[in-house]
């Protein structure tokens, strides 16, 4: 199937795709950020933002817009001993990979920018680039706390990229394709014991858990937020940042939540299909329903991340590494082996 954003003119097509992706990127980050503010607020027996609103609608719906406006006004400080070029570029390097992953994520039948044959590979590879931005920020800040944060982040990424990739590989193995669109469609055809339609999240429940935990660790979401642990190393790589550049880091965190939740949705939770084995009508109606379903699944996953953040203390860096190398990675490898055997044995 072709992307619905494809037109006769190549230039126009590219333009539309870029615009749609960038618009979605900002809106999604704002919505997820707002939901986190409100939901976490209520979990903590408070109301969250209540004032900033858009027109007559209050309850803080405009809070993040107002925050953004505030960040814009802040002085852009580059420390004297910082490496100015690297320091200035780092937030962009951290932000762009998240943006590029959106290119391959299918939101509904036909609602995607590119259907790459190597979609999964591309997404996981791009998500690993973020750490370069973090390392740049940590090194260029000329601050010990920043550097420690950046190094923690790099160590964490290496440890968690592996379970993430292995969990994804198991899915690709079962689906027989690396294309994300292909994975969604294959997934919907899966029948457990030849009768019960299920998504990959059921047979690969271990993989789903691994993917989710690894995604949280990769995004530095609590309880895995050691790289930016405020009580230990202030704000890690973001310590010296102000204004818009700081906002970019925050934006990449929220956008990262959306992107990795979207990936989990596509890989394990049936993508745009509302239930296993469902069929969507062709044409625009199907695209709309599919998109709504995908977005709903993404929001549920991001809320789960918020829930964990509101409840758990953070782990220690070495405990996290131990957990990754002694529990998560062996589990992921074992799962791949099991899946591979099952696929070979059962035609």
């Amino acid at each position: 199937m072709e992307s619905i954003f494809t037109f006769d003119s190549l230039l126009f097509t590219v333009l539309v795709k870029v615009l749609v992706i960038v618009a979605f990127f900002f809106v999604a980050a704002l919505v997820v950020g707002y939901l986190e503010h409100k939901v976490m607020g209520h979990m903590q027996d408070r109301t969250g933002p209540m004032e900033a609103g858009l027109g007559p609608v209050k309850h803080g719906v405009g809070q993040l817009v107002a925050d953004g406006a505030k960040f814009l006004q802040k002085e852009d400080i580059i420390p004297r001993s910082a490496d100015p070029w690297v320091f200035a570029l780092a937030p962009g390097v951290a932000l762009v990979p998240t943006l590029t992953i959106l290119v391959v994520i299918p939101f509904g039948p036909g609602v995607w920018a590119e259907n790459l044959d190597l979609g999964l590979f591309f997404a996981l590879a791009a998500s690993g680039v973020t750490v370069i931005g973090v390392l740049m920020a940590g090194w260029a800040s000329a601050n010990k706390f920043s550097l420690m944060g950046a190094i923690r982040d790099a160590a964490q990424l290496i440890a968690y990229e592996l379970p993430l990739v292995l969990a994804g590989a198991a899915v690709a193995l079962q689906a027989g394709t690396l294309s994300l669109v292909g994975i969604v469609e294959r997934q919907n055809e899966l029948l457990l014991f030849g009768a019960v339609p299920v998504w990959y999240g059921i047979p690969q429940f271990v993989g789903l858990g691994l993917f989710f935990v690894a995604a949280m660790a990769e995004l530095n979401r609590p309880p895995f937020d050691m790289p930016i642990a405020d009580s230990e190393i202030i704000a890690g790589h973001m310590t010296e940042y102000t204004g818009l550049r700081f906002a970019f880091f925050l934006l990449s965190e929220y956008a990262g939540m959306v992107v990795l939740s979207a990936l989990a949705t596509v890989l394990f939770l049936g993508g745009w299909y509302p239930w296993p084995g469902a069929e969507l009508p062709d044409g625009p109606l199907g695209a709309v329903i599919g998109t709504v379903v995908t977005l709903a699944k993404i929001i549920i996953l991001t809320l789960l991340m918020t829930w964990a953040r509101a409840t758990f203390p953070r782990l220690r860096e070495d405990q996290l590494q131990t957990m990754a190398w002694t529990i998560l990675i062996p589990l992921a490898l074992a799962q791949i082996v099991v899946i591979a055997i099952v696929i070979v044995v059962l035609p």
Partner: protein
């Protein structure tokens, strides 16, 4: 190989970080594998120190090889100031050095002056003082319950604990007029009697605090991540604790049940059952557990005070201008953070000749270098958050 390097940044000396002094940094290994310790300034402006305590640590990677707390950033000369204030003004003053134990501080000073003047404080005033001390203790402990969670990265206990603190503050405000600085004690008794409805509100609040206290156990004590972060971290031996003069929950966590409410009762503590919760290992986990148990113990004492409150006046007959007779006295009280001591020397005037305060936080902070040795940077917050100190109380 070990040598001393002059760091690029100017620091070091008697106080680490004094301008113009070289840092003492150890260098290990040779050639490409050569590493060197990093000197890290935690504070005075750092999110982990809740206040302006500064700890200069040497780290080898993330492992702490040396630590030294630097105190004095909040020195406000309370002891000197007290020499120029009369006793009522001193009571308003000692509210403020440890702002989380305001009422217990007031009572300590008032007790010292009363004992010098040999004043007989009415029963009712003593019972109310006892009850207020315990409410204050709960407020104080709730603050540390919340901040300890926060330092470990759990943001929610902060909001929960402040919810209860708000209730207690409202209760205290209805009687004292203050939410933090109560200034409710007077030499010879109390400022006013309780307002109508205070006892009923107290009775209703105690079970709420108990129930919520259980929630902290569920949220933190039972949490595997919390246990992994605190069990065996910063373990303090009872002998070392006593040598350092550590007191309060940090001492009780090592198994030593020294509590002047029991060993040297003041106010009405000899007429109520005071439970002193203790633990065995003296690590961060035990310190936190003792803190939560102490909240329950305080609830018990408040209930006993409510049951025993006699009618009567709330103030002894005192002269308009209070003058302590010539002499000296030392009074010790169990403040929420530990042993509080007030050494008062009077030359018979309306102001003390000298007032010296023994504050628990100062002694508790002293053991930080001992506890930090060899731990990880992340454990630093687990240790410093569970040593329980108020920087105003350290520096005075």
């Amino acid at each position: 190989m070990s040598e001393t390097l002059a760091s690029e940044t100017s620091a070091g000396g008697v106080l680490p970080g004094a301008p113009g002094e070289a840092l003492q940094v150890e260098v290990r290994g040779e050639g490409e594998l050569q590493t060197q310790d990093m000197n890290l300034n935690v504070g005075p402006q750092h999110p982990a120190t809740h206040g302006v305590l500064r700890v200069v640590i040497d780290v080898d990677g993330e492992r702490i090889v040396g630590a030294q707390p630097v105190v004095g950033y909040m020195h406000r000369a309370f002891e000197k100031l007290a020499e120029h204030r009369d006793y009522r003004q001193i009571i308003a003053l000692v509210n403020r050095h440890d702002w989380l134990s305001a009422f217990c501080n007031e009572v300590g000073v008032a007790l010292a002056v009363e004992q010098m003047m040999e004043l007989e404080v009415p029963e009712r005033a003593q019972w109310i003082r006892t009850m207020m001390c315990e409410w204050n203790r709960i407020m104080n402990h709730l603050m540390f319950v919340s901040s300890f969670g926060l330092e470990l990265g759990a943001i929610t206990p902060m909001f929960y604990a402040f919810r209860e603190r708000e209730d207690i503050q409202h209760l205290m405000e209805s009687a004292t007029g203050g939410r933090l600085h109560f200034t409710y004690t007077r030499v010879g008794g109390l400022k006013d009697d309780l307002p109508l409805g205070f006892l009923k509100a107290s009775e209703e609040l105690v079970p709420v605090v108990r129930r919520r206290n259980q929630e902290y156990r569920d949220l933190l004590l039972g949490n595997e991540i919390f246990r992994a972060r605190t069990k065996g971290i910063g373990a303090l031996e009872p002998e070392v604790a006593l040598d350092y003069g550590v007191s309060g929950p940090s001492l009780h966590a090592t198994g030593v049940a020294e509590d002047s409410r029991v060993t040297e009762p003041y106010l009405k503590y000899d007429e109520v059952d005071v439970a002193v919760p203790v633990a065995r290992n003296g690590d961060s986990y035990d310190r936190f557990q003792v803190l939560l148990d102490r909240i329950d113990a305080s609830c018990d004492i408040i209930e006993q005070c409510l049951a025993n409150l006699p009618p009567g006046p709330i103030s002894a007959k005192v002269p308009k201008q209070i003058k302590a007779p010539e002499g000296a006295i030392y009074v010790r009280t169990e403040n929420p953070l530990g042993q509080g001591g007030y050494y008062l020397i009077s030359d018979g005037g309306k102001q003390p000749y000298r007032m010296r305060m023994r504050t628990p936080s100062f002694n508790n902070v002293q053991m930080i270098p001992h506890l930090l040795q060899g731990e990880l940077l992340s454990d630093m917050v687990a240790i410093m958050g569970s040593v329980y100190f108020v920087v105003g109380d350290v520096d005075r």
